[in-house]
């Protein structure tokens, strides 16, 4: 490389469109959510644009609304890690990020799966750690809803600690495999592990070599204070929600401050919120396109279901193009939509919504379009490039996870028209500089930390 990189580098990932109403499956261009070809198409396209990583979400129970499986949005997805392992075969450089729950998995299997993915991909594995505690999801698993909500992060922290002990129980050079001497594993390079804690009690010998990255990159999705603390102690990347520029800067400063308080380097944790991008030849065209997409993401039944969740009531007769219901919400009914969290205090929420709708003369659907909009970047390629770069250069984020609304080609415009502009200004790589995801993200490779097995 001849160019000197004085400019802060942007990190960009792509999110495979998933089981939520961002994904517009009603569009005739919308492809399969299941066929491997869809995953391959997005991952390869993102790799051609030199993006940092490809991101897969996870859900362990089909969502339900009013006691029945929710049928209005995309339903169903393949298993996260096998898809990423398969993508390792058809890509060479792009990072592969899998969302995996610490509540319904054990550290031994997680450590093994991620070490395997790291080896199979040549050092491109990442784990987006999520937690859950709901008994609804638990009904698919041996232990049911065993975990108190308050213990979610306690367990997550312990699972990660044990997983790292397991990865570190093999030295980097443990596998010698020298035919001449017959040494397969170097003496003393594979050590037994042992851990006893409130959530995890394990001892033994790990089966799988340390991956090229030492530890897979750890993502953590969390905007809450607990989530921020957890990330500042443990994670390499925070995956947060898109916010305004000022809120982004405040979040950034808060989290980087927590890092420093824990003795970590400010650059050792990247803040990469999710965002949507809509580009057009003119600002007006982009705005019009964005409005169309937002309307397509919130069809009438979705708007009604959204309101039903806040009200805790069956509102099947509600006209989505009419006003909000006049009844008061049911405080007791927490479970009308399952597999999704309910918002805070329903009465206060309903008051706010009524006021918003009255002021703006909004229908139910208009309101829900507004409430579920997460901002995102809308405009000409040059404008969007300016904005993304401004967020990053002025420390409102370290980059973005781009969430498309169409499978699998919903990001083609951004990758073809915006990314080259970022490359031109030296804010985004023109070529991958190293083989691993840690290389892409500028994260140090962790050394083996030896714990003594007792």
């Amino acid at each position: 490389m001849t160019r000197r990189e004085t400019r802060k580098q942007i990190h960009l990932g792509v999110h495979f469109p998933g089981v939520n109403n961002t994904t517009v499956w009603t569009d005739p261009r919308s492809g399969s959510q299941i066929d491997f070809a869809s995953f391959e198409a997005l991952a390869r396209k993102a790799e051609e644009a030199k993006l940092d990583f490809f991101f897969l979400a996870e859900g362990l129970r089909l969502r339900e609304h009013k006691g029945r499986i929710h049928d209005g949005d995309v339903v169903g997805r393949p298993d996260t890690l096998p898809v990423l392992a398969a993508l390792a075969a058809v890509t060479e450089r792009i990072g592969l990020v899998g969302t995996i729950n610490t509540t319904f998995n054990e550290p031994f299997e997680l450590a093994r799966q991620f070490a395997t993915l790291d080896i199979l991909s040549g050092g491109r594995a990442a784990w987006n750690l999520v937690t859950s505690s709901d008994a609804f999801t638990g009904e698919n698993f041996r232990r049911g809803g065993y975990l108190d909500h308050a213990d979610r992060y306690t367990r997550a922290a312990e699972v990660v600690e044990v997983a790292r002990d397991l990865w570190d129980s093999w030295d980097d050079d443990a596998v010698v495999a020298d035919p001449a001497t017959g040494t397969f594993l170097r003496d003393g390079a594979v050590r037994p592990f042992a851990h006893t804690g409130p959530q995890v009690d394990v001892r033994g010998t790990f089966t799988t070599p340390r991956g090229p990255q030492g530890h897979p990159v750890l993502f953590q999705a969390g905007d809450s204070s607990d989530g921020r603390d957890f990330a500042a102690s443990t994670a390499d990347v925070i995956f947060s929600m898109h916010s305004t520029f000022d809120d982004g800067r405040a979040f950034y400063e808060d989290v980087k401050g927590r890092l420093v308080a824990r003795g970590r380097d400010r650059d050792s944790l990247k803040i990469i919120p999710a965002t949507t991008v809509v580009v057009g030849d003119t600002d007006a065209e982009a705005q019009e396109l964005a409005r169309e997409i937002r309307r397509a993401q919130v069809p009438g039944h979705t708007a009604v279901a959204f309101v039903e969740q806040a009200w805790g009531r069956d509102l099947s007769d509600l006209d989505p193009d009419g006003p909000l219901p006049t009844q008061e919400p049911d405080d007791e009914n927490q479970s009308i939509t399952r597999g999704r969290a309910r918002h805070g205090d329903p009465r206060r929420l309903v008051e706010q919504w009524r006021s918003l709708a009255e002021t703006n003369r909004w229908s139910v659907r208009d309101l829900v379009v507004h409430l579920t909009s997460r901002g995102g970047f809308v405009g000409t390629p040059a404008h969007v490039a300016d904005e993304i770069d401004r967020y990053v250069q002025e420390d409102a984020s370290d980059g973005f996870i781009l969430v498309p609304h169409l499978t699998p080609h919903g990001l083609d415009d951004v990758l073809d028209r915006v990314v080259p502009l970022l490359q031109e200004r030296g804010a985004f790589r023109a070529e991958y500089e190293g083989p691993t995801l840690r290389d892409h993200l500028g994260l140090a490779r962790p050394r083996v930390h030896q714990t003594v097995a007792l």
């Binding site: 299941i34 392992a85 390792a88 299997e109 093994r112 199979l120 017959g182 799988t208």
Partner: protein, 392 residues
């Protein structure tokens, strides 16, 4: 036209081969034990021989060190997924434990390998009674073999239900009514076993084979019963042709007693192969492998009776192996074989380029894959979902 059934030949691609000294026997080639490119090459070689499947053993216990033996494993299910996209024809069969894992996770992993391979996945059901494995996992104490197998049978049942929990045409994408799925075609599986309960449905839509085939290793009367009731492919380890005939007959009778048609079950005999230009060179290769394994080199190493305990072992030419395979099939001892090359670097190619053409010349082995899925290769029909109510 008479129904013609070909022999079935799978290959075990675990580690560097069935012999513990195999990893040292690659000549000038470095062993690259955990390099996926090595596995990609092996699967491609096996597929040129039109073999039925490539199998990957797995365990949550590190192989004990014996002399210069191979140690370490990658997760077999993810290895199978990694090998799926750029391979064709050949099925990929990972062993996946059910004693310590979640049946829900296992079912969707296998289902997803079936999706990414477009119908070439199967599942070798593995269970564990080892206290060391139980301690490493940390969720439970080790079950005895009766409990482990009872639970394995429950896991197979629940996986089958989850695989059927989406009917084939559940995804409708009906824009007019704004329904992505027809939820009447999604089903709770409501499994309640002694050790676990699973509500369902799967998060993953029905896969190309509907239900990926289930493979069970027969190593005891209990696992024979399990295979007879539940397996699509039973792997048996016997050294004697008469014993094999007897085991196959027992499997088929037990399957019949369980209400199955015996022809739904493929009985495959494991055969460890050490191939040479002639008998003497094959024997020399085996001697060399044994020397390289250096089992006795380490004082206090666990004693082993031999590397291939209990398995039929062929030491000889590729053509002799074809004779053996033909003779055992003719005797009714097997529907096919799981070849376990002593050394993957040498014996797999010898089987593909020597044994397979010889069997093809006798009309005993396929000259092309009959279809695209593993069920096509095995000659098994694609099952309808047990929950489907319409037959249109």
């Amino acid at each position: 036209m008479p129904v013609h059934r070909t022999l079935h030949l799978g290959v075990d691609l675990t580690d560097a081969g069935a012999h513990p000294g195999a990893w040292r026997a690659g000549g000038s080639r470095p062993p690259r034990p955990f390099d996926p490119a090595r596995l990609v090459d092996l699967v491609a070689t096996a597929a040129t021989g039109l073999l039925d499947f490539a199998l990957f053993e797995d365990s949550f216990a590190l192989q004990p060190r014996r002399g210069a033996s191979y140690q370490g494993r990658l997760d077999a299910a993810l290895v199978a997924a990694r090998l799926a996209p750029r391979s064709h024809g050949i099925a990929l069969v990972p062993a996946v434990d059910v004693t310590h894992t979640e049946p829900f996770h296992v079912a969707k992993a296998i289902q997803t390998i079936d999706h990414v391979s477009e119908g070439r996945a199967a599942w070798q059901v593995a269970w564990s009674t080892s206290p060391e494995t139980a301690a490493a996992f940390g969720r439970r104490t080790a079950p005895d073999v009766v409990e482990a197998l009872t639970e394995a049978e429950d896991a197979i049942e629940v996986a089958g239900r989850l695989w059927d929990s989406w009917e084939d045409d559940a995804e409708i994408r009906d824009v007019a009514t704004h329904r992505y799925v027809d939820r009447d075609k999604l089903h709770y599986v409501d499994f309640e076993g002694v050790r676990f309960a699973v509500k369902g449905p799967s998060i993953t839509p029905r896969s190309p084979q509907g239900r990926p085939p289930v493979v069970v290793v027969v190593d005891s009367p209990l696992s024979l019963d399990l295979a007879a009731r539940r397996a699509d492919v039973a792997r048996v380890r016997v050294e004697d042709v008469d014993e094999a005939v007897q085991v196959r007959r027992t499997l088929r009778d037990t399957a019949t007693d369980a209400g199955r048609r015996p022809d739904e079950l493929r009985v495959l005999v494991d055969v460890v192969t050490v191939v040479g230009e002639d008998l003497r060179s094959a024997q020399e290769r085996l001697d060399l492998l044994t020397e390289l394994a250096a089992i006795d080199a380490e004082p206090g190493a666990a004693p082993v009776a031999g590397p291939f305990d209990g398995s039929l072992t062929h030491v000889g030419t590729a053509l002799d192996l074809a004779d053996l395979v033909a003779a055992w099939s003719a005797a009714g001892a097997a529907d096919g074989f799981t070849i376990r090359p002593a050394s993957l670097a040498t014996d797999l190619a010898a089987v593909v380029h020597g044994t397979v053409p010889a069997l093809q010349a006798r009309g005993l082995f396929r000259t092309a894959y009959p279809g695209t899925t593993f069920r096509d290769t095995l000659g098994l029909t694609r099952p309808a979902s047990r929950y489907a109510t319409t037959t249109s």
